[in-house]
Symmetry: C2
Subunit: 415 residues, 2 copies
């Protein structure tokens, strides 16, 4: 069974806004064994909307409309879907009464056109919306002789996502003969996408019963997404697991996660497992490493903090880098990275200290020290590992790569 | 004239990946006065692709295909578009020779199927791709008696974006009768979307010749996008400018940007204008404020750095917060926020110091100090402003709001 997701709203056709609800809906539909074959974005013009609805009814079994259910003149999803199906809209007295009650409770007179939200396509079930005034609709019907499951859902994420999870999934589940799906997400640090594919392809192409997708993220991470369908859950799981273990063997230590965890989470697990703490002194990443580490809930158990040493005077006053060392080797140097890691470790009384210094660009590069050059150091008080890298890309990309490199070095130090 | 953008690739129909190229292309098309009326995402199956192409040719003047131009069996855009148009594919000897040369320079034998990238739809111009092996195609043709402009472009952003800007825009410009477009982006800090709309709507609804879109971003920022078309550039500009100045009057100091600049950039401008420097001591934001400030190129001119004082001992050792104060009032308190701002200012010898302490959640909340409670302080050595806020949402949202609040306080302090 396949699905089409249609996002409605002229704002989604501007350069500023993008539908993101469909990613969540796709994940849930995949759980049921339903593939999304098409996604469409269409504006608020009724003929465009009726046309897009007819196209979707002709090519997908499950059709989900998102948005255009509000009270304004621009909200035309109900009318357009009814017209495309040749069905009538009926005003639901219960929804109408609830709308009146909602406005009365706020002591506001209800504008007349709010009642349009009570219009329901003939035969549709009403889906309650505890977080907004526009209810959803679920309709099982025929289109040109074929069975179709049609949903009209509100656009705002905080309304559609719980409505879909709590009200649509059970209705879909009852109607869709579920296949059993198993997935695995494997993540690799500091290897390029084409290198990763060159090493992974000879393995996954031997396992055509598992669908393998390679994704590269901003700066130093490649993900392998494995997915299969089988008659039983055990069989599906066994298939992805056996492919996963072959890929684990191939990538060995570079594969930091085999269950989808982020690198920040993995570093957190290791630190807790070792009863260790961490402190960071960041120059070119300007706080990005600390921000990523503290994005994990509970990170206060192992992350003490540290310093953002953008100005050279702070490298000395906050992390005890000798001024002479900076004068001799420059702020962007192997020596200063080492001193930052060792200095911040002592200052914060942490098990591990990490130091980053580099040139994020676009300005500040020289022939000897070009934009993208970054030194990373991790110290445990006994030894200090230093890695010099030259990263490609713009300021944001260089900073991402550098924070990823530092996280990966912390992970390896703890392994 | 209208356009449809079609993104091709099964990975774009997973929960993990999303087309983002279309946002850039939409911005450029809008500059030419072309509206994007439809966006479609379709997988790598040829019948789906041929069907989507025919639908697009029937409803849009400009049709842009992105992706599916590579050498593999899954790359079917060329074949599908040719089939939908009833045109032939011809192998271009020049592209073929370039492919051979590319592989020869890497001392690799070219796999036979790479030659598919040399297939060009009859009548199409070839668009060079200096960043990849798959060239693009630009075709002006008829579909069912109507003029159509069709582009086949590669999927990776680093290939498609320069190709579109440098090769498609001039070709489009020559063929599209350009209207004159003017836009303005106004940004407001720390006001909710519905409040902003309630205040803005009475103004912009009086100006129906300007299209106004309200967008809310993660945590404390609302944007008003104004856009109009007119016979001359002056007339278009005058229209958006006059609406912008009415909205500026309404929002007054809360409107931090009237030309699209980010809050980080505005804070940077003000600091440079005043010849001032800044240092930050962050607890719950864990480096996010520093990371945002240093995301601006050239921020080393005014941002000195500071400390991430996650652990209480660091609040004392890095920013001189008296331990007794923490014991008496708790780490999350008005007093500690103030001491962080004043302490980090002195330590770093900065003009301004900023301190943030709060409970980002999900754990750590109590009845007196619930999740979302954050204290922000900004000190200039004479006075220290403190703001207590209780932010809604999850960990990421609370941290975003808190960093936004702090940036807005720095801006107001400098105004």
């Amino acid at each position: 069974m396949n699905a089409e997701i249609i996002a409605i709203g002229s704002e989604l056709l501007t350069p500023f806004r993008q539908d993101t609800n469909s990613l969540h809906l796709t994940a849930k539909l995949n759980e049921l064994g339903v593939e999304v074959d098409f996604k469409t974005v269409v504006g608020d013009r009724k003929p465009d909307l009726v046309g897009a609805a007819r196209i979707a009814f002709s090519r997908a079994h499950i059709i989900i409309f998102m948005g255009g259910l509000g009270p304004t003149e621009d909200d035309l999803t109900r009318e357009a879907v009814a017209e495309a199906l040749g069905l009538e809209l009926k005003r639901d007295p219960e929804i109408g009464a609830a709308l009146f009650a909602f406005f009365a409770s706020r002591k506001v007179k209800m504008p007349e056109n709010n009642l349009r939200q009570a219009d329901v396509i003939a035969g549709a079930e009403v889906l309650k919306n505890p977080r907004g005034t526009a209810p959803g609709q679920f309709l099982e019907t025929q289109y040109e002789g074929r069975q179709r499951l049609i949903m009209l859902l509100p656009g705002p994420p905080r309304e559609i996502l719980p409505m879909f999870d709590q009200q649509c999934m059970e209705r879909l589940n009852a109607r869709v003969l579920a296949h059993h799906i198993a997935t695995r997400v494997l993540k690799i640090a500091m290897i390029g996408e084409s290198d990763a594919d060159r090493r992974a392809a000879p393995i996954y192409t031997q396992h055509t019963d598992v669908q393998t997708t390679i994704l590269a993220s901003t700066g130093g991470e490649v993900q392998l997404h494995l997915r299969t369908q089988a008659p039983t859950q055990e069989e599906a799981q066994e298939r992805v697991d056996s492919l996963a273990s072959l890929l684990e063997d191939e990538f060995d230590e570079a594969m930091f996660s085999t269950r989808g965890e982020s690198l920040e989470q993995i570093v957190g697990y290791y630190l807790q497992m070792r009863g260790a703490t961490l402190a960071a002194a960041e120059s070119c990443t300007g706080g990005m490493l600390s921000e990523r580490i503290t994005s994990v809930a509970g990170s206060s158990r192992y992350f003490l903090g540290g310093a953002v040493v953008y100005d050279n005077s702070l490298k000395t006053s906050m992390a005890d880098v000798p001024p002479l060392m900076i004068a001799e080797h420059g702020a962007v140097s192997r020596e200063v990275a080492t001193a930052l890691a060792e200095g911040i470790r002592k200052r914060c009384k942490a098990t591990l200290g990490v130091g980053i210094t580099g040139i994020a660009g676009p300005g500040g590069g020289t022939e000897q020290k070009p934009v993208g050059l970054v030194f990373h150091a991790v110290s445990d008080g006994t030894t200090t590992d230093v890695v010099e890298r030259r990263f490609p890309g713009d300021r944001d990309r260089v900073r991402h790569w550098a924070s990823q490199q530092a996280l990966d070095m912390i992970r390896r130090k703890l392994m």
